[in-house]
């Protein structure tokens, strides 16, 4: 686990008064390394507020200036204006120096906490036109950051062992989007390496992916599914996941097309109540869809009209409207089954 340099978690709070009392609100937050390297974190209600962002920039760059008259001078004919400015040279000293004026004039309480974070993971998107040095078109930039954030989300939504995760400024002359985190989870990172290796080997581990009540299994499945989005970046040639300084790449994006088929290619059986018929899919005119309620969740049965038992399966479903039926088939998605058998449900109880 590689330790990175010291950072400061700078937060600005404001008190809001109302009839129900006083509430302390977080109005701004940034992670600061030095006066040129920092990144903003959106906060509830205020997002990245421009007015507080201005104060923050003025403080850490040492540019804060405020002209004023003293109260007692205002009665004179030609009062002399004075100026308040921050004179400290280091960022942390500038933050300290600004606290009093921020409190008295702006009603802001600034806290600054030192934090050590770890290099968690980076995503590198490589291609002829994907180069920050020469400028990135807004559409590509948006896709890259969106995909990177969704990939991180697929990790942090399933395991909370990394603590808080922050996106760093991308490294120039490439499109590598790095993330740091409070803690590290080597097991989660191994799962991600496995995901990349399994995609490249076209041997996605469906039984691992579909384990119940296993957060690492869920992480594996969600991360792999999210990787499909890389195909939306038209200029991409190589995609890398960098863990502990080592790159794990996907260079044949055709393999991403076959993810769902591998992820769900399990033969299952079950039973559910016939809810309604959706008839034929527009995108696949040979597929007839019936929706079942399986233990309170929706399950979509796909019946291929080319299947030898299509007529028989459809008749059973039509005769058992709002009744329970048994089915079996191959999973094609989280809640989609390509049926190969449908029968009236016989309860053994």
């Amino acid at each position: 686990m590689k330790q990175t340099q010291q950072r400061y978690d700078l937060r600005m709070y404001m008190d809001m008064n109302s009839e129900s009392g006083t509430e302390r609100l977080l109005v701004f937050r940034a992670i600061v390394i030095d006066h040129e390297t920092f990144y903003y974190i959106k906060v509830p209600n205020f997002g990245i507020d421009e007015s507080y962002k201005q104060l923050f920039l003025d403080i850490i760059k040492g540019d804060f200036r405020l002209k004023y008259y003293d109260l007692e001078d205002i009665g004179t004919v030609n009062p002399e204006s004075k100026e308040y400015s921050i004179t400290a040279s280091s960022v942390i000293d500038r933050i300290e120096e600004s606290k009093e004026i921020m409190s008295s004039l702006f009603g802001i309480d600034i806290t600054s906490t030192s934090m050590a974070v770890n290099d968690m993971i980076s995503f590198r998107f490589d291609g002829h036109d994907l180069n920050l040095k020469y400028g990135l078109n807004p559409k590509s930039a948006g896709s890259i950051f969106n995909i990177a954030n969704n990939l991180i989300g697929s990790i942090t939504n399933n395991v909370d062992t990394f603590g808080e995760v922050y996106q760093m400024e991308p490294i120039a002359a490439s499109t590598t989007v790095p993330y740091v985190s409070e803690h590290n989870d080597p097991e989660a990172l191994e799962i991600i390496k496995k995901a990349i290796a399994d995609i490249n080997g076209e041997c996605i581990d469906a039984s691992f992916a579909n384990r119940q009540h296993d957060p690492y299994s869920e992480l594996y499945k969600r991360f792999i599914k999210q990787l499909k989005e890389i195909r939306t970046i038209s200029e991409i040639e190589t995609f890398e996941v960098i863990i502990n300084g080592k790159a794990h790449s996907i260079d044949d994006f055709k393999k991403l097309r076959r993810i769902d088929a591998q992820l769900y290619n399990q033969h299952i059986s079950g039973n559910g109540i016939v809810h309604h018929h959706e008839r034929y899919l527009k995108s696949k005119p040979n597929i007839y869809v019936v929706v079942l309620d399986v233990d309170g969740k929706e399950c979509r049965l796909h019946l291929d009209n080319q299947h030898s038992r299509f007529e028989q399966m459809l008749r059973v479903l039509q005769e058992n409207d709002e009744k329970r039926i048994s089915f079996s088939g191959y999973k094609e998605g989280e809640s989609v089954v390509a049926a190969d058998m449908v029968a009236s449900f016989i309860s053994l109880s």
């Binding site: 404001m14 008190d15 809001m16 008064n17 109302s18 009839e19 129900s20 509430e23 109005v27 209600n45 205020f46 421009e50 007015s51 507080y52 962002k53 201005q54 104060l55 003025d58 405020l66 002209k67 004023y68 008259y69 003293d70 109260l71 205002i74 009665g75 004179t76 004919v77 030609n78 009062p79 204006s81 008295s104 004039l105 702006f106 009603g107 802001i108």
Partner: protein, 205 residues
């Protein structure tokens, strides 16, 4: 040395030729051929309308605030109407006269350092903040004022109103100068015990 080529005493006095002002007294002198200073007092016929003379410096050549460069500048040093003469359209009427007389005398810009309620009043009269950063500071100050002063609004209402404010122009007047309560400018002076000054300008030519 004569500086009357910058602007005549008659033209200076003509600025204050508005219905609300009964009597004007202009005292002007030359610091040099390129700098004229004027002190102006005026009454409503009974009382002086400002606590002390209005001070104006007229520069033949001075750095501009609207963009990098030099130009002819009217520097408005001090203008504080007495409380009983506020909210009567006096500042607006004077501002309109200034614009036409300064244009006639080929001034490029009016500059002032706004204080108290001037920081929002001059904005409404067509002045711009010299630094966008200063406007952001004002918005941050206003958020504290708004959070502290309008206790009848609940937190959700306040957050909703604040979320719509990106500039001073976005703030409804009732949340800048509520009747019967401290105005934003008064609140700043009371809290800070100083008058923050915000550099502003208005282009003339």
């Amino acid at each position: 040395m004569s500086c009357n080529g910058l602007i005549s005493d008659i033209d200076i006095g003509a600025i204050y030729n508005i219905p609300q002002i009964a009597k004007i007294n202009v005292k002007a002198g030359c610091h040099s051929s390129v700098l004229k200073e004027a002190h102006i007092e005026f009454t409503d016929g009974v009382t002086f309308m400002t606590g002390h003379p209005v001070v104006r410096n007229y520069h033949a050549s001075s750095p501009l605030r609207s963009f990098a460069g030099i130009g002819k500048v009217a520097e408005h040093k001090l203008f504080i109407l007495s409380e009983s003469h506020r909210k009567k359209g006096i500042a607006k009427a004077l501002s309109q006269n200034e614009e036409s007389i300064y244009r006639k005398n080929k001034f490029n810009e009016v500059q002032l350092d706004a204080a108290m309620d001037g920081i929002t009043v001059w904005k409404k009269l067509g002045y711009d903040y010299a630094n966008k950063g200063d406007e952001n500071k004002l918005v941050a100050m206003w958020k504290v004022y708004f959070s502290n002063q309008f206790i009848n609004l609940d937190a959700a209402q306040k957050l909703g109103i604040m979320s719509k404010v990106k500039s001073i122009s976005d703030i409804p007047t009732k949340y800048l100068a509520p009747s019967g309560s401290l105005t934003f400018g008064e609140w700043i002076a009371q809290r800070f015990q100083k008058f923050p000054l915000i550099e502003m300008y208005k282009r003339i030519a």
